[in-house]
């Protein structure tokens, strides 16, 4: 009985762990897509953030790692913004190229910095922080209130993003830019500047997501370690309907599906493991279909502002 509860608690904690980097990246992508820019380069920003976190933390501790990750993620996103927002080039290709470049760049820098031996498990990490009292709650306590700081930050970001998007002038301008670049411009919004900021902020959060993998989870870096999480974050944005709250739910859902996948495999069934590997994606598809009503993207998503 208590065993069952412990397992459940462990499962919930795993779901939250898996969800955290996805939530960070997806929240960032929500901001950028609300502004009308779809950034497939966040996979690259995440990877760059992961490496920057590793190097930063090796050099100056976890906090330096976090700062370095933010900067690295934002820098790649800035390059992306330069090409796609300012030059008006295609966002899908630009994002793919940024990710490809990030794979190469992180690989080269990693090899140069850590040599052939790699980083091992030498990187200083962020210890989980227990929230007093709350962490004692049975079942949920350990899952939700004994997590690394990045998790709390990711969750706190959800209402903050909501507030920004729906309760501030900047957020309104951002949404306007995403819905109709022409309309926003006519209303006095500086569309390119607005979009650039959103993309860079999104990239910084993706960098932080990468840092979470390194500093709050594995304590090391490996090439291509983000393994497509950036693309999954983009799926989560859609699943969450471009809404911070929805994105939170979708990220947790995805985290839970993935955690469940591992539990299934580890409990040793005869079912081919590949079916479990498909599970999160199939569930996400079902979730998309089951979500009540129609999903609508920001109208000008993917369209550069016309040069005037």
């Amino acid at each position: 009985m208590t065993d069952g509860i412990e397992l459940l608690a462990g499962f919930l904690a795993a779901a939250v762990r898996v969800a955290t980097p996805l939530l960070l990246a997806a929240t960032g992508e929500t901001i950028s897509e609300r502004g009308g820019v779809i950034n497939l380069g966040i996979e690259g920003s995440m990877l760059a953030g992961a490496l920057a976190a590793a190097i930063g933390s090796s050099a100056g501790g976890p906090w330096s790692g976090l700062a370095a990750a933010l900067i690295a993620g934002a820098t790649l996103a800035a390059v992306f913004a330069l090409v796609s927002v300012h030059a008006g080039a295609d966002q899908i290709i630009a994002g793919t190229a940024i990710t490809l470049g990030a794979v190469g760049l992180t690989g080269a820098v990693y090899r140069a910095y850590y040599g052939t031996a790699g980083a091992g498990l030498s990187i200083p990490t962020l210890a989980p922080v227990e929230v007093p009292v709350l962490a004692e709650i049975p079942l949920l306590g350990a899952a939700l209130f004994a997590q690394p700081l990045t998790t709390y930050f990711a969750v706190a970001l959800v209402p903050a993003t909501w507030w920004y998007l729906f309760r501030t002038r900047g957020g309104l301008a951002l949404r306007a830019a995403g819905e109709s670049a022409d309309g926003a411009r006519a209303a006095g919004v500086r569309v390119r500047a607005t979009r650039t900021l959103a993309v860079v902020a999104g990239g910084a959060l993706a960098g932080l997501a990468g840092a979470t993998l390194v500093l709050a989870q594995v304590g090391t870096f490996s090439e291509r370690m983000t393994a497509g999480r950036g693309f999954i974050a983009i799926a989560i944005v859609v699943l969450g309907r471009w809404h911070p709250g929805g994105v939170l739910v979708a990220a947790l859902f995805f985290g839970a599906a993935t955690a469940l996948q591992f539990v299934f495999q580890a409990s040793g069934t005869a079912v081919p493991y590949q079916l479990f590997l498909m599970l999160p994606y199939v569930l996400a598809l079902l979730g998309l279909a089951g979500a009540v009503g129609r999903v609508r993207a920001p109208r000008d998503l993917g369209r550069p502002e016309r040069a005037s």
């Binding site: 080039a89 290709i93 190469g104 998309l288």
Partner: protein
Amino acid sequence: MNARPGRGRVVAPLLIVAASLAGLAGVLAIAGYDPVLALGALWRGSLGSFDAFASGTLVRATPLILIALGFALALRGGMLNIGAEGQFLAGAMAAAWLGVHLAGWPSLLAIPATWVVAFAAGLIWVVVPVVLRVRYGVLEVISTLLLNFVAEALVSFMVQGPLQERSGIYPQSDPIADAARLPLLPGTRLHLGIVLAILLAAALWFYFSRTLGGFRLLAVGTGPRAAAITGRIDVTRTAALALLVSGGIAGLAGAAEVGGVAYALYPNLSPGYGFTAIAVALLARLHPGAIIVTGVLFGALETGAGAMQRDAGIPAVIVYVVEAVIILALLLADARRTARSPAVAGAA
């Protein structure tokens, strides 16, 4: 301007590409590599000799061109199919499945048969996104993307399970029958797939530019409301059909890769052709003829990248950076021609 096939100039883009290559040479030199050697290898390994061109560049270009053609077809109708990777794998699975059973068939039947099943498999792989889009309004961008991951897992399952080779040890299928293998250009690795790609490009070019159906597809993609009200076009049906066929074409690419290159199903059949092909199609502004050119360009880039590693000792990771810079440069050059892209035209 819009999703129209482009009528842009070529000179400025070429200048930008040249400038960025010069910049690259500088960066390589700073990083301690011999830029002349590196760029020389890039050239020699891709376009510098007939063998490199035929056996390397064109072989790599074939799946890119095919997938890009399908992508262009769908996007012309406003559907953004970023799941070609999955459809490609579906086609490859089907072609391998049939291909191993065709011993004794005449090639004239065996090859078309694998193409038909692969087309069907790719098409079936997009049925779910189409139904989700039509019935539930789920954006095909996302459903096709998610299905890529499912396809990967499915291939992994197939090569360990139903399609695994006879000895049951290796995660790959049995080799397909000789009859199902595509004929090669003698002395090279260039296979019949390139002919398929060129014929399909010609057919799509004709369809896009000379037929009412091709125009109506464009209308659906650029102005769905006007297409429905003024053009009296069944917008949903038209777009759905385009997406289905684009899936089928990606499936064909899978068949060509199995029948012309790999001769068996392997899990690592695609290095992300589905994504590279998007760049191929968009840079070509969805124009079928231009897709052949951009497809060859990207094929050359990927083949040349190998040569840079082999012949100039440049590590793969640096080569990725080089590729990324070249793509971004092409993109910037291209963006100067026109300011608008159709990227998510079907989103609303």
